[in-house]
Symmetry: C2
Subunit: 496 residues, 2 copies
């Protein structure tokens, strides 16, 4: 868990510059972690003329970003070329408003604003780095393209309450990469840029501690590599891009125990070391209980016309919201049994069914049969379906406000209940809590004072995505790449 | 928010002993905060022969403990004299199991065990300090005695799921004090003991920073008093008993934004300074999102035979659980409107109604009338009541497992809906997140190593009560007094 050292420093306690006998390496900007945030920071810092050294704990680039679909949440400014080709004009204010709502009760308005205003330019930057996007749009609701297509509805834009405050627009941009796994492609492109810019990359190099001077300024870091500790001077700053803490089960237990109910953490290193290195010099970690969680229960989108129930036979969400929002509500409930109810007209085999272990929990010619087969409280499921059907027939969902286009009475047998049990199906999760930073990437202490010489980006921070119930696909990579860039640029521009 | 200082130290950054030119005061055990935790620590440390100095930021003793009902959660060991008189034998294992469940998914088993095994001795200790308990029991469900009676059912002991794993027993012990407000009495008694033991008490003395030596040991603290900073040497240790952070709205927003929905924080100073002082030397704060919240919707206990619904007209809890557990579930939901439904046989005027601003939201001769008057989705409330009544008639609540003694069909008009809206009624709250400590009171860093010279107790820590959904009345004072004692004793026994 910890990196205790006879030298007295660790991820929990900085090394004092006055205790450094010899600097093994001198650089200007030292970056910890070669995922999307670290790569973006390195590119911008190097572009700005700084000498950059990038330390990665594993033997290759990519980090947890490479495990993703590579999708990035972008829009505003009238729309990206792909949004516009698909017939959408997206305003920066709508993007801002959506990001703010998605950020939850403590959304970072300054980050939302900056991102909304520069999201189109960020798209162009990604293209300039070599990321290729096909000019195509998938109008149906998917989790991630199985094809090489680009634009998808990747959040809750059309769902209540988001649709009331921000004009809906699809904003998930997936690189041109056939099938799932565009994140690896994205990282390969960024890594090539990092190499082209002659960034000094050190693999198998783990950050053990920060180094501070007498005035508490971060001036470098201790790297464990090739069996020994190396003391690295960073003249312009250290940028922590070391991911979140989902792989540190102890920290998850202490900060976000509900996430431990999800059986499939999405992470590589993600042991919380980035956050803890920051905390060791007074950085403030916030929203440590928040996390992303999901079960990819759609596509096919026809299932969205079905209803989700818990083990009380009650609905609990407008099913047309983002799948992660639904899963978040699931994890916050006490029970473990959850079902999607569909009828003949709405049923379709879940496209991620085998992957997610979603099977058929019950089937029958009446809802009463389903209710009995699932051993739900007598009458509970039936009351729920009856109430839902009655209003759906009028195109209304007064309980949860599912959009009219998804409303139809579930009354055509046979009926099906898809089994989405927490203790069986594949629920994915990663953490959203982390260091508080300014839009510049500067890390703040609890009094909101920047810590000199320290920057952070990606899941080491609490960024744009900081509220599980508001997460939308592409937000974490958007945050990591965009604010990674800001951190790299700002560090590079420091006067030495 | 912060205590910036030209000297470079603050609540976020310790003062270095080598920078202290002159020690203004030398003591053995320095305690921050004169609530129940600080008083208990001071008594035990002084009893153990240590020289103790107690610093309190305000002008008098009591802290937030004095705002409470003075109730302490005790039992086990065959039962306290009052439990036994009332006919209850309480086993330590049942108490342990209840505490463990109440502590939630990351309950501190070691603290639960120690407390369960020594809870009777703790009762005797309180009596020895001069706290008087009347030998009486209130069998009906109350929130706090309006009389000078002692023993009450103060948690979810008889409610599912707690009752399945721990044999129910009432464990809330309120001092003999007429009416509400026994916390002030409790603190007066403890303060008298503190005075009798000649503890050096300094009022209007605020802890500004900790002082650490070259080996990171906490050796004292900086106290701001009479307009200047005083440097206090604490030979045996510093004990942080400075409360939680509910009065620091900024921290609440960053760690527990759902608590900001409750309009009535219970706090005095509680600005998070105790937690932040600990963090400044590497202490690990955990479960910072957790808090207590409640609306005293019963007594009369007949209302427990009613049902709670949200603005979807759905039930969400077994109404016989602790009122704070219900309020916790309320705050976690999106909507703001909540109602208690009762019929003629179950209705009674809420005894805290005026205090909590619980009024009648609707009344009528049919549930349909109520549903309409509340403008709930057509049929939703009716379906809920119909399903509940059907099962209640059989003495069952298959959805939420309310106990049989509280089950009866709500079918005798007139019907009433009590209005428990979040945005109108009085929801009380305080924080439960804080520093991780050992049962000894030693403060841990994130690698679970004790920080030499530093102790903490009460709401500055994440203690026995650390999960809002499990809180029971008397748990915070139980934790503060008992683990305050451990901290005082352990600090006093340090070799200098």
């Amino acid at each position: 868990m910890t990196e205790a050292s006879s030298a007295g420093y660790s991820r929990h306690r900085p090394c004092r510059a006055s205790d450094v006998a010899h600097w093994d390496l001198q650089t200007e900007v030292a970056i910890v972690g070669f995922g999307a945030a670290g790569a973006s920071a390195a590119i911008e810092a190097a572009n700005a003329g700084a000498k950059v050294t990038l330390f990665e704990a594993t033997s290759g680039h990519g980090g947890t970003s490479a495990l993703s679909g590579g999708e990035i949440y972008m829009g505003g400014n009238g729309g990206t070329p792909i949004q516009r080709s698909a017939g959408f004009t997206d305003s920066s204010d709508d993007l801002y408003e959506y990001l703010r709502m998605a950020g939850g009760p403590d959304a970072d308005a300054a980050k939302c604003r900056l991102y909304a205003d520069h999201s189109l330019a960020h798209f162009e930057w990604l293209v300039a780095q070599g990321v290729v996007y096909k000019n195509s749009f998938i109008p149906t609701r998917v989790v991630e393209p199985f094809t090489d297509d680009c634009l998808i509805w990747s959040g809750s834009e059309e769902a209540w309450p988001f649709c009331e405050s921000a004009k809906p627009c699809p904003r998930g941009h997936t690189p041109q990469w056939m099938g799932l796994g565009g994140g690896k492609y994205l990282m390969d492109v960024l890594a090539k840029r990092v190499a082209d810019l002659e960034v000094d990359v050190r693999f198998d190099a783990r950050a053990v501690a920060l180094i501070v001077d007498a005035s508490h300024c971060v001036v470098g870091l201790v790297i464990r590599s090739e069996g020994r500790d190396q003391f690295v001077r960073a003249m312009k700053g250290v940028i922590l891009c070391a991911g979140g803490f989902i792989m540190n089960r102890h920290l998850v237990q202490q900060h976000a125990p509900h996430l431990a109910r999800a059986n499939t953490p999405i992470g590589t290193v993600d042991d919380g070391s980035g956050i803890q290195l920051g905390q060791s010099v007074g950085a403030h970690a916030i929203h440590m209980n928040e996390g992303f969680v999901t079960l990819p229960w759609y596509p096919p989108e026809s299932l969205i016309k079905g209803i989700f129930i818990n083990e009380q036979g009650q609905r609990f969400i407008n099913e047309d919201c983002y799948h992660g929002r639904t899963a978040q509500m699931i994890l916050q409930q006490r029970g473990t049994r959850f079902y999607v109810l569909a009828d003949q007209e709405t049923y379709g085999e879940p496209e991620f069914g085998e992957f997610a272990k979603i099977g058929i929990g019950a089937a029958g010619d009446s809802w009463q049969e389903i209710e009995k087969e699932l051993e739900l409280p007598a009458g509970a499921l039936m009351a729920t379906v009856e109430l839902y059907n009655r209003h759906a027939a009028n195109g209304e969902d007064p309980l949860f406000r599912k959009g009219a286009k998804w409303l139809k009475p579930l009354n055509k047998p046979p009926f099906v209940a898809l089994d989405c049990r927490i203790d069986y199906c594949t629920y994915f999760t990663f953490t959203l809590g982390g260091l508080e930073t300014l839009p510049s990437g500067e890390v703040l202490d609890a009094s909101r004072e920047p810590i000199a010489g320290l920057y952070a980006a990606g899941r080491t921070t609490s960024g744009l995505p900081r509220w599980g119930a508001g997460y939308s696909s592409g937000m974490s990579l958007a945050d990591a790449t965009f604010f990674g860039r800001q951190a790299g640029l700002n560090a590079a521009q420091q006067r030495v």
